[in-house]
Amino acid sequence: MNKRLIKDLQKALGQEGVLWRPEELLLYEYDASVERALPDAVVFPRTTQDVVRLVRLANQYEVPIVGRGAGTGLSGGALAPQGGLLVVFSRMKRILEIDLANLRAGVEPGVVNLDLTRAVEDRGYYFAPDPSSQKACTLGGNVAENAGGPHTLAYGVTTNHVLGLELVLPTGELVEVGGKTFDTPGYDLTGLLVGSEGTLAIVTKIIVRLCRLPEAVKTLLGIFETVDDATETVADLTARGITPAACEMLDQFCLGAVEAATHAGFPLDAAAVLLIEVEGLREAVEVQADQVEEVCRAHRAREVRRARSEVEREKLWAGRKNAFGAMGRLAPNYYVQDGVIPRTKLPQTLRAVIEIGARHGFQVGNIFHAGDGNLHPMILFDARDREQFARVVAASNEMMKFCVQMGGSITGEHGVGMEKQEMMPLLFSDDDLDAMARVKQVFNPTGRLNPAKMFPLSKSCGELRVRPLPQRAGA
């Protein structure tokens, strides 16, 4: 990389704010996806003004610039496929304002998701979107990916909780969109920016809504002898209008790994379990828990357990939230998919997913946000075997096609990134993609910010790009 640029970066951020030696960059070649790409330099701004300086330098030297939170993204969003600067927000992690009276907080993008809730929970509040990675992932990353989580079933995903943003545009201009209040006049640029995968602007401040913690919570574990019974329970809960706060499914394959890692008390011999939580006023929670249990039993649940203590509850959730990590026990690598389907199509889609995996010679684990119809099939494989990885890609591609055929989508929360660009035409026509390209043209006309993401690179529809072989997949 250009030595003068490094000098200028160091002048702007100080020596310790810039990494550029090849061995220092290795850590930033990955996120939690199977993609990889090396940046030319990694920079750590402390302030919005630092970010403005970095963007200007990127423009001056005509190098790409990519934002990065914790690097837990599962679609390669935080990688620099064309090199350039990787802007890591680990030094911009101040909670700038907690305004409980107005149920708002203002944060820097590097604040870790769970840290925000930690800062307000003893006063009875929390930030509702709770990705399973919430101990590590940042709010900047959540905004970019429009992250969901187990409890977003009832409370909505990130976009439903973000009201305003401070942005550094790829030109280096500073702009505020939205604000502390609802219904800001003009186009809803905040809504447009959330979920734009860091391709439109760098986010330097986020204004979020805080919610009141519920009075009561009950956690149930429905234990099933067949996967169909579990998925039909989910479809039936939805159809009956019983909306739990969370409704997660773990199949047998995952249960083994999770139980070995966490000893939460998950049954090892069940085909699937549903981890269901109901929240609200005491009186409501009692009734809802009974309703959930009744539906589980109507679909032949072998047992419906209720967590008897907060410790038991936390163990179950720790099992769920650390599940991806636990999968590492089963195979050297895994590849997590992220399809969405209407909940009425859940049973047949899960059958198809398992069948597709088997046909390609893989066992597929399923641990996912069932209540949202958001599947996360997890394909275990050995990345050292090149041919295996090609089959993994083929199998997951087929799974996503099936989701689209069911009227669904290729990603519910992990984003398109570098991973699903070539699948975009499965969902969108040229005109649809052109409309998105025009939005990008408005914000990021040179394409210097987070290049080669989200939009298909090849012209041929639905054809997969050959990917580099992953070294280490998953997190």
């Binding site: 209040t181 006049p185 939805t238 969405v340 009425t344 939005v439």
Partner: protein, 476 residues
């Protein structure tokens, strides 16, 4: 366009749908003194595209409408040559009750949607004014607010995807029909509340919600605004999760055709839903809060709730009440404008803690300009509405046009409210006012730093400015 007849001939030649030019059809979509030269009613997106392409070619301005109920919102049109009515694009395309999702054409009436969902024990939380008339497309275009927003959010929170025709005549799809999806930019967000200036919405996919098993409302009267807001604060920061939290003052209550509302200076209207045991709990706790905050009255209404379906005819006359209270509150704007066609309505979006200060200031401003005023707020969401009414003793109280002097006072008062909104950390717009008032006040308030981005988006989606030109923020 120069509404010359030969131009209309080219329109007739270019599009398949009928082109109405009679005075009555055109008059229905007259806005701020501008009457379109023709009204077209496309039956599908293809026909709509033909119309947009024609407009581009002829530099004509299009006025997209569903019911027309919300047409007065916005700046006077820079051009409104042809009104494009979506009245014929009113089909339900798909409904999967088991998935709680559905898809409709944008011209469908919200009441028809509500009826269909109700048959399956579901609903859409968009109970906006002009409910019996309003079309889905218009409600989305103005991002019409519903009292249910406190619990369910606004349109942006339950639209899953849509199709729209851009100003270049391209049909674009965004989102999908599943409850969670992050593939591509979320263009639905751009379209909602954009007043049809980026595209004409043709189809919308929604998330539906299950109707709660039991519902009730509580009306709490207060002698002072401070006390009413104190009760609101206690509710907002408690574990109670009511579905609705509205505030009306006496003048607003008097606009409603109801005697259920207390004659208190301020009434806090709370609606809750859930099982019976939950409603009992609300009654106990709200009654206690009302006592603590020195309320002058506390009245439960066991059958009132915005989500109470109309009284079934079988029980009519047997003392069972329908949802009269909430139907009335929902229609407050419609009522006020019916009684006072010259009413000017300011909407201010505020931090919760500033609602009181704004309402107080607004009342002072209205008094200073000698304009009777009524106040209403989505109190739990920080949205306040001030209704400036023409002086009651004036000869022109109910006239559609606004006498010069009154219009000037209204414009000045509205301008002050725009400033006040800013000072209290919020933003004021003037969604409803007579044309005369728009001469002296910008209904959208001043633009901000993000305006150049909005202009560029407009240029990308509607480069020739055929869609509702001039009507939106900053003349977009």
């Amino acid at each position: 366009m120069p509404a010359a007849t030969d131009q209309l001939e080219t329109l007739r030649a270019a599009v398949r749908c009928s082109v109405a030019t009679d005075a009555e059809s055109r008059g229905r979509f007259s806005v701020d003194g501008v009457t379109p030269s023709a009204v077209v009613e496309p039956e599908n997106a293809k026909e709509l595209i033909e119309i947009v392409r024609w407009a581009r070619a002829h530099r004509a301005g299009l006025l997209p409408v569903t019911s027309g109920a919300f047409l007065p919102i916005g700046n006077p049109p820079a051009a409104a040559d042809v009104a494009v009515s979506l009245a014929r694009m009113n089909r339900v395309l798909d409904y999967d009750p088991g998935d709680l999702t559905f898809s409709v054409e944008a011209g469908i009436g919200i009441a028809a949607v509500d009826k269909l969902l109700g048959e399956h024990g579901q609903f859409l939380p968009g109970l906006a004014p002009y409910f019996e008339r309003a079309g889905v497309g218009g409600l989305l275009a103005v991002n019409a607010s519903s009292p249910l927003r406190y619990a369910y959010g606004t349109w942006r929170d339950f639209v899953l995807g849509m199709r729209f025709v851009t100003g270049e005549g391209r049909l674009v799809k965004t989102g999908a029909r599943v409850v969670k999806n992050v593939a591509g930019y979320d263009l639905s967000k751009l379209m909602i509340g954009s007043l049809g200036t980026l595209g004409i919405i043709t189809e919308v996919n929604f998330k539906a919600f299950p109707l709660p098993p039991a519902r009730a409302s509580f009306v709490v009267g207060f002698a002072s605004l401070e006390a009413a807001l104190e009760m609101r604060n206690r509710i907002v920061h408690s574990v109670l999760q009511p579905t609705v939290l509205e505030l009306v003052d006496r003048a607003a209550a008097q606009l409603l055709p109801l005697n259920t509302l207390s004659p208190a200076a301020w009434s806090l209207l709370v609606a809750a839903s859930g099982v019976e045991a939950v409603l009992r709990r609300y009654e106990t706790e709200l009654a206690a809060l009302a006592r603590e905050t020195k309320a002058s009255s506390f009245t439960p209404f066991w059958r009132e709730h915005p989500l109470v379906p109309p009284v079934p005819s079988a029980v009519e006359g047997s003392g069972v009440e329908g949802s009269a209270l909430w139907a009335a509150v929902r229609e407050l704007i419609a009522r006020a404008r019916e009684a006072h066609p010259a009413a000017t309505v300011a909407k201010c979006t505020l931090p919760l803690t500033q609602v009181g200060a704004f309402l107080t200031k607004a009342a002072q401003v209205a008094a200073r300009y000698e304009l009777p005023a009524a106040a209403h707020a989505h109190a739990g969401s920080g949205i306040a509405y001030i209704y400036l009414l023409p002086p009651a003793d004036g000869p022109d109280a109910s006239r559609r046009t606004c006498p010069e002097g009154v219009a000037r006072r209204m414009a000045q008062a509205a301008t002050e409210m725009i400033h006040a909104g800013n000072n209290f950390g919020g933003r004021t717009t003037i969604p409803w006012c007579p044309t005369e008032v728009k001469r002296d006040v910008n209904p959208w308030g001043p633009v901000r730093d993000d305006f150049p981005l909005m202009q560029k988006l407009k240029a990308q989606f509607d480069p020739d400015r055929v869609l509702n030109p001039g009507r939106f923020v900053g003349g977009l």
